[in-house]
């Protein structure tokens, strides 16, 4: 079974701040990590290959520093790593990013499954996984919490807002993973040291035959007008006293506000 996992290197989510002047994320001094949902994607891929055999290729688009995230993915069990990196990819929106990643996936070649995290922690759009599937013309199943593989068929349990949905898809299929899907492994020291010695393949736009007009700023129809940290307009209210009394007060208020 050949599996491709797409990952993104993001600033450590617990330390993200936005510069009020420029409305961009302050990246200086913030450690970079693998997007947490992508770790679930890696774990799922590695578990499948452990069970069925095959190969996991981990793929990322990003600056040269993203190599660290790819090495971490290899320490977690991915066999090979590809970084697509080119100055012309800078400022890509979700459409351009999925174009570049799909071009890289075509270059990688044969695959049965593509795993991604459900969304990136920094951008939070959840648009790239469906974008990749559309560009490649393959089925997509998003928000997967469970997966069974049978021959060339994938049976996926999706985590929706109020319910689970079970769908089947013929491979190759792209599956985006939620964090409840599994518990990503913490790589051991031996695996980390071995991953440091492994090669990371780096491809630029020419290697993946990406058209410049579809990459980066030129290939991105989205324009970010403004980025800002949300302000809280309504202050929370705290009821104090005995729990039973508080409950009564709360219910009265909710009825008063016509919420219930």
């Amino acid at each position: 079974m050949n599996i491709i996992v797409c990952i993104k290197q993001v600033p450590d989510t617990s330390e993200v701040r936005i510069d009020p002047e420029t409305n961009t994320i302050i990246r200086e001094g913030v450690p970079s990590i693998i997007n947490p949902f992508d770790e679930n994607a890696i774990e799922q891929a590695v578990q499948l290959v452990e069970e069925f055999g095959g190969k996991v290729t981990v793929l990322s688009m990003g600056p040269p520093q993203a190599e660290a995230a790819l090495r971490e993915a290899m320490a977690m069990g991915c066999d090979e790593a590809v970084l697509v990196s080119d100055r012309c990819f800078a400022a890509s929106d979700t459409l351009a990013t999925s174009y570049v990643l799909s071009a890289a996936i075509r270059r990688i070649g044969e695959y049965d499954l593509i795993f991604t995290g459900k969304q990136a922690f920094d951008g939070d759009t959840a648009q790239v996984p469906p974008g990749i599937a559309e560009q490649l013309g393959i089925p997509q199943v998003t928000f997967a919490i469970g997966l069974e593989v049978e021959g060339k068929k994938a049976r996926v349990r999706r985590l929706l807002e109020d319910e689970f949905e079970v769908v089947e898809a013929r491979m190759p299929v792209l599956i985006s993973c939620v964090k409840q899907m599994n518990d990503p492994r913490r790589p051991g020291i031996k695996a980390k040291l071995a991953a440091k010695k492994k090669e990371v393949t780096v491809w630029d736009s020419a290697c993946i035959e990406a058209k410049a007009c579809l990459c980066g700023f030129d290939g991105s129809p989205t324009r970010v007008v403004r980025t800002f940290a949300p302000t809280r307009d309504i202050e929370g209210e705290k009821f104090e006293g005995e729990p039973a009394e508080c409950a009564v007060t709360l219910v009265e208020r909710l009825i008063g506000e016509k919420i219930i």
């Binding site: 913490r186 020291i189 980390k192």
Partner: protein, 382 residues
């Protein structure tokens, strides 16, 4: 002398920091309070290959030195004293097999101790043989191709939990240290049972158990090193064990210091943070200075060991100084916290209880002073 770490070593240290802060520290109080062996924490250490650090790659190890091993042990004790103490006790079985074992013994016992599949323990202490190792009464008698062991060990760290035991017994108690012999004994060997698990002032979750040998048959191939040369095995093991104790003491002292300097900047009295009072500042300065000196001592002893040089004197100095440091530092950490420091709401009272053992275990402070003085007089003999 160089205590800097390579990029690979630093990566390992960073990974253990992550493990400690995310997985060990959040449960440290709970583990100690429950007083139960931290199987989950040890499993996580095993998955991270933490027990493989100082062992040759040939036996499944990572081939790093004791300087890195010390840094890792310090971090484990810093984040969770219980995990650190298990790590410290484990090496007391791992090291003698690594140092004195035959290839067959290494294949059978060192590999699983290095992967962490098996936990190790070392048994020397008896009711009447603590500081006086030559007084070991556990008797080993040769019968054909087996030794038959009879006797009782006490206070054995990791006892009951460990799968592999290095046990010091005596072929002839009248010969004192010259009769001592080291044996590798597996848990489950007929005639080998576990007795009382001590209830202690601190180190609550580390088992310290009685080991009872009653006509316990041990094959001759399980003699570690040579019959009658167990004293050398024991002393070699305790030499490294002393580095381990110093490492644990420094980790615990650092945890107490960090708690104290944080609290001193949060707590306000008389209209200012107590960290602004010189009385508190001087305490903090002394604590940090003593910790730094203790760390340098254990690093020097580990470095000497890694260079293949004599390290025993500095290891004893490190053990002596760091164990007395951790007692002072944890006591001052409680003092800086005041009343709340004496409650179980804050971890410093536990640190203070845990600290005392460092002055007793693996050679009391008095024994260390004796060893240091003997070595000094030998070096300066006129």
């Amino acid at each position: 002398m160089d205590f800097t770490f390579t990029e690979d070593e630093q990566m390992i240290i960073d990974a253990v920091h992550e493990l400690g802060s995310e997985e060990l520290q959040p449960h440290a109080s709970e583990v100690a309070e429950a007083g139960e062996f931290p199987y989950e924490a040890i499993e996580m250490c095993r998955e991270m290959d933490i027990f493989a650090i100082p062992v040759e790659e040939k036996w499944g190890g990572l081939g790093f030195g004791f300087l890195l091993w010390g840094a890792i042990g310090e971090l484990l004790s810093y984040y969770c004293q219980t995990t650190g103490s298990v790590f410290g006790a484990h090496v007391l079985a791992q090291y003698p097999i690594m140092e004195f074992g035959t290839d067959e013994q290494k294949e059978k016992y060192l590999i699983p101790l290095t992967s962490g599949e098996h936990i190790g323990a070392f048994g020397l202490t008896e009711p009447n043989a603590g500081s006086d190792a030559g007084a070991v009464q556990t008797k080993a008698e040769l019968h054909g191709d087996k030794y038959i062991l009879n006797g009782t060990k006490i206070f054995i760290s990791n006892g009951g939990v460990a799968e592999t035991y290095v046990i010091i017994a005596n072929l002839d108690p009248s010969k004192g240290t010259r009769g001592l012999t080291a044996f590798i004994i597996e848990k489950g060997t007929p005639g080998f049972e576990f007795g009382k698990d001590e209830k202690k002032m601190g180190w609550d979750a580390l088992p310290n158990r009685e080991l009872i040998f009653q006509d316990c048959e041990v094959p001759v191939e399980n003699v570690l090193y040579k019959p009658g040369r167990g004293f050398r095995v024991a002393m070699g093991t305790l030499g490294v064990g002393r580095i381990g104790m110093a490492v644990g003491a420094v980790g615990l002292a650092q945890a107490a210091f960090d708690a104290a300097i944080l609290y001193a900047q949060q707590r306000e009295q008389f209209g200012q943070r107590i960290a602004e009072f010189q009385a508190i500042q001087f305490k903090l300065a002394d604590m940090a200075t003593e910790i730094e000196a203790s760390r340098l001592l254990y690093q020097k002893s580990a470095w000497l060991k890694d260079q293949g040089e004599k390290f025993e004197k500095i290891a004893s100095m490190a053990k002596l100084f760091s164990s007395e440091t951790v007692s002072r530092v944890t006591s001052q950490a409680v003092q800086i916290h005041g009343g709340v420091g004496y409650t179980r709401e804050f971890p410093v009272e536990r640190y203070m209880r845990d600290a005392k053992l460092f002055e007793i275990v693996e050679g009391t402070s008095e024994i260390q002073r004796g060893i240091i003085a003997n070595l000094l007089l030998r070096e300066n003999h006129i």
